[in-house]
Subunit: 637 residues, 2 copies
């Protein structure tokens, strides 16, 4: 991308600060990485993005919106897997105490050595090296992570070492703590800047922890996603929906991740606003009733098999074709990908800088079976802004198992049907005496086996006469006297199933930042001037009201027009500061306000005003009433 | 209030649960006190209340809305006073470990003894006692706090003891931990239910604490109010407002209080949504530019002098009169009280159950100089739902002092003016050698004295020749050789001042609950049916779309009408469940949906539909287009 090279990020960042879209939190106290406050322009932009989101998804599709608590009790997140798995590995500079993410530091050091190797070999040939020329994808990834670079020393590496480093880097996201520790020892990885030794990687859970109530004994976490609150309410939601399937719940709210080293502005922060949809669907039928409405939407896809073959070529394809060709697994997933595309382009994301990348099997979250990310291209590279994952029945299943609360759909069958299934019989006579106070738990474990477990149980009993049952880590041996299991026909009148969940999950801050990049340009002319070309529907303010000067004659017009604009739902910012009209136009271009209405002496005489359009700077003069009618037409774009 | 007696709160609570306005969080895990999730109806109701709030306050008055972080670093809340003062006193049942708020337990026990005294004396006269008949205000207060009652034993008390108890109860909100401990010992206060001994009261800070980042050394708290984030951004806000005063910032968001014993449903919770305005104003001129627009608004007032005389009679008065008579201190405070009144009545709070009560001097928060609460009457008594406090220059002053960042307004004076003020001169020669590395800190302390401190310094130096300066708890002695101070005339060209802050602060959950109570009634007839008569502007859904039956002929009409309604901004819920139309009307009355459109066989023939109005149940038949036009007119009420 040629455009990317010319992109002056620091100029945009200055604009963001100057017009207070956002700024580091607690800045007068020195600030803390990973926390940002949104100012009036950023907050209005975010509110408008959320409103479009709510209209586009929640209202348009009659989703059931929830507002659940941020503080979440330990047991919920233990069950969901976050207490155990939502962690990164960190290690410490043993001398100065600096803390690194273990995978980041390995990556930084190995990449620095590979770079040194490149430079050493280039020096032999008498050439300099531009890293972006060598591997633009990696250069972009580095920029995206903005990580601490290892010190590059031009030393040539043996061929075998180079290859080892490259293989390690290719899999860097897949190592656990033990493996990272081994790699660090094998390659003598040290702190990139100081060269000091590093501690063995330790697990660091990314959830903020706290205590609920005065006893100090009830542990809580700030939610890392809004999804769990939706799963916990599944039963109430299904009832609210009159037991009809499929349906979706939705939630907009704050989530938290205690990142080890936050970076890249809004892209990796510790507190952020998400918007998440949980679409509950019959696992046996993932068709979507409105799929026809979106089947002709053409999107840019990067499927996993392309990536596995080491390429990044994207394909343009209609959603209908992608689902028909099984590139996208099912209609519901395809439907949401199309709807996400329509949402993002509606708020101003450029279609040519938007792609849908499928996750490879090894990079998916612990609960997902398939996942497509909407990635938006920015100066940091391609950024995941929306994840669209199939979480299968994972969450409902684990919460149901833990709480004994049935989280299922019961569907009255039109005709009874006969199904083959495992049938278990417990011998109550032997069970009680044998397992005593554990009898109930062992029985329950046996009754809630998966099909695979039943198959194993049947085989065990047939071959050895006994089988092992695990309950909360404790093992019990059952014999064929205690339990019998066989597969046979059962007549069902009601079908009971745990729904699967398709989850589009939006990082609002990332989308907002990407939109700032996509909307920004500099007006050429005698003076270089910033413009943010937001679509009117998300612009922080729709209209700017400018009295030509501080003359008192303008005041009643400002008051009257401003009221009329607001009453017609056109959010307005009055700029009556004592600056020239040209400078005020420039200021409002920087705020991305699409229209400016100027009140001058002619207004006082005949009630006409001028309307200036932001992007073209074209001006027309007409009565205020006509201008207002014009704005109302264009307002919702 | 006769109406209050008949109020069947448990019936309303059933309705709230059944229609999923809200429910305890983590309910399938057993729940935890003080946390609630809002379901689809409650969430939509809350979103609509917030939208009205935003239109009424932020857009109407061009306030600068912010969105700052919930996680707040320790230093900020240490400075604001929350780390030291935002606490309650708790004590523990020494046998069973149960934890109480110390003031609550003293109150419960003493009130039980007084009640026992009443009963004993009534028994002597052969009468039974109704507590509400004795002191209705106290009975309502008890109900509001829903506190653990002490066991009432009918024992007559000596006159002096009774008097002592009553005096103690009258001041119960004013005792510190030491005083509570003394009272508990003096009156032998024990656990109300078990009679066990209680521990000495310990301070319990009500903020949820956490650690930021991997080092475990950076302490953070979940904000107890959204205000601090606004104060920290004051400088940026003033700049964004082109340095113009007065102006207001605003924020809607989640706040947290780790209550010792949450109670009364949404009224005392641990996580809640607030909406706060910080109006920054010149302390020398608290007039408000739009005061004239509201001066004729008549409100119900309960000023502090009335309360101090032991009464609760309210006064009806126009805001203009209240400010003219100095009952309300200034125009800005009066302006906001009127605007709060207009907001609350717009969303459906009954004017006759809304009053503004002035805080007495001893009940104000540590930062406030004057405060009026909008109190809404509910079955729990009068509930504080909006606080409107004058926080003076407290917050900006303390943050500025702590960070050395100037948080002031600089106003160019039309004409230079001469003012009397304290002038300090530091003798650099003696200062450095005498105070060494503390010299700078001591100098700074002297230069930032208040007027009172300068007066004392001058007097000290004049009388004894020395004076004490305190810096971070350490004391230094300065002599008249080190520093000279005198009061004299100075010519100023710019006036520099720290603005005062008027803060209207809204508890959205409390308002929402009160609105549920005010909106609920039961339709008389053959079957008692619940109705929630929300104004259309906040109703969770504006319109309900009901196909007469599951007949396929209705489907295209449902789809078409639903789209048209949404496109016209009328949020719609389709209810195509297989229940009779009558039952569906009843269901939608319980959701408070003001309009229902029914599609029947005549619709298929001629495109007409019936429109039913919720409160009157009146129905009209007309073309869908005409009905739509009618709804659009009434939509924003």
């Amino acid at each position: 991308m040629a455009a990317e090279k010319a992109f002056d990020r620091s100029a945009l960042e200055q604009l963001i600060t100057k017009r207070f879209f956002y700024a580091p939190s607690f800045q007068i106290y020195g600030g803390v990485a990973g926390f940002y406050d949104y100012g009036p322009s950023g907050c209005a932009l975010m509110t408008n993005i959320i409103n479009v989101w709510r209209n586009h998804f929640v209202l348009e599709e009659e989703m059931l919106e929830l507002d659940t608590t941020i503080m979440t009790i330990h047991d919920v997140l233990k069950t969901s897997g976050h207490v155990d798995k939502f962690a990164d590995w960190m290690c410490k500079d043993l001398k100065n105490g600096e803390i690194f993410r273990a995978d980041h530091v390995v990556e930084a050091v190995l990449e620095a050595r590979l770079q040194g190797d490149l430079e050493a070999r280039a020096a032999k040939d008498g050439k300099a090296v531009d890293p972006a020329a060598v591997d633009p994808a990696k250069a972009a990834k580095d920029a995206k992570k903005k990580k601490k670079k290892g010190t590059v020393v031009a030393i040539e590496l043996p061929e075998a070492t180079r290859k080892l480093y490259e293989e390690t880097l290719a899999q860097i996201d897949n190592y656990n703590g033990q493996e990272l520790a081994e790699i660090m020892q094998k390659f003598d990885i040290r702190s990139p800047e100081t060269g000091n030794e590093l501690s063995v990687p330790q697990e660091f859970n990314l959830m903020f922890e706290s205590q609920i109530g005065p006893t100090g004994q009830l542990k809580g976490y700030l939610r890392p996603e809004t999804a769990q609150g939706q799963f916990l309410n599944f039963k109430k939601l299904l009832e609210f929906n009159n037991e009809k399937m499929p349906f979706a719940s939705a939630q907009v709210g704050r989530s938290f991740r205690n990142e080890i080293s936050p970076r890249s502005g809004l892209l990796r922060v510790r507190e952020f606003t998400m918007a998440e949809i949980e679409h509950f669907v019959d696992p046996e039928n993932k068709d979507h009733p409105s799929f026809n409405d979106v089947k002709d939407v053409v999107i840019t896809l990067l499927p996993k098999d392309v990536q596995l073959s080491g390429k990044t070529e994207t394909t343009e394809m209609s959603i209908g074709d992608a689902v028909a060709k099984k590139i996208i697994d099912n209609q519901t997933l395809g439907y949401f990908i199309a709807r996400i595309y329509l949402f993002l382009t509606k708020i101003g994301i450029k279609r040519e800088r938007l792609r849908f990348r499928q996750h490879m099997d090894n990079e998916m979250a612990h609960y997902a079976t398939d996942c497509w990310d909407a990635e938006i291209h920015t100066s940091y590279g391609w950024i995941e802004c929306v994840g669209c994952a199939d979480r299968s029945a994972y969450d409902l299943t684990v919460h149901s198992r833990r709480t004994k609360e049935k989280l299922v759909v019961r569907e009255q069958l039109a005709e009874p049907r006969t199904v083959e299934q495992w049938q278990v019989e417990i011998n109550k006579k032997t069970f009680g005496p044998k397992f005593k106070k554990s009898a109930k738990a062992v029985e329950e474990a046996l009754l809630t086996y998966t099909d695979e477990c039943y198959a194993k149980l049947a085989k065990d009993l047939e071959t050895t006469g006994t089988s092992e049952v695990e309950v909360d880590g404790q093992k019990f041996e059952v014999s064929k006297d205690d339990v019998s299991v066989k597969r046979g026909a059962v007549t069902e009148y009601v079908r009971e199933y745990t729904p699967n969940v398709i989850e589009p999950s939006f990082g609002i801050g990332r989308i907002l930042y990407s939109l700032l990049e996509h909307s920004w340009w500099v007006r050429e002319g005698d003076e270089a001037r910033n413009v943010l070309s937001f679509p009117a529907v998300v612009a922080p303010f729709k209209c700017c009201l400018l009295p030509l000067s501080g003359n008192a004659a303008f005041e009643p017009f400002v008051k009257k027009f401003s009221r009329q604009l607001r009453q017609n739902g056109i959010s307005t910012r009055t700029d009556d500061s004592k600056t020239s009209i040209g400078r005020r136009y420039a200021r409002n271009d920087e705020l991305g306000i699409p229209y400016a209405i100027t009140i001058d002496f002619q207004t006082v005489e005949d009630g006409t005003v001028t309307l200036r359009e932001r992007d073209s700077t074209e001006q027309i003069r007409d009565s205020f009433e006509n201008i207002l009618a014009k704005l109302k037409e264009t307002d919702t774009l």
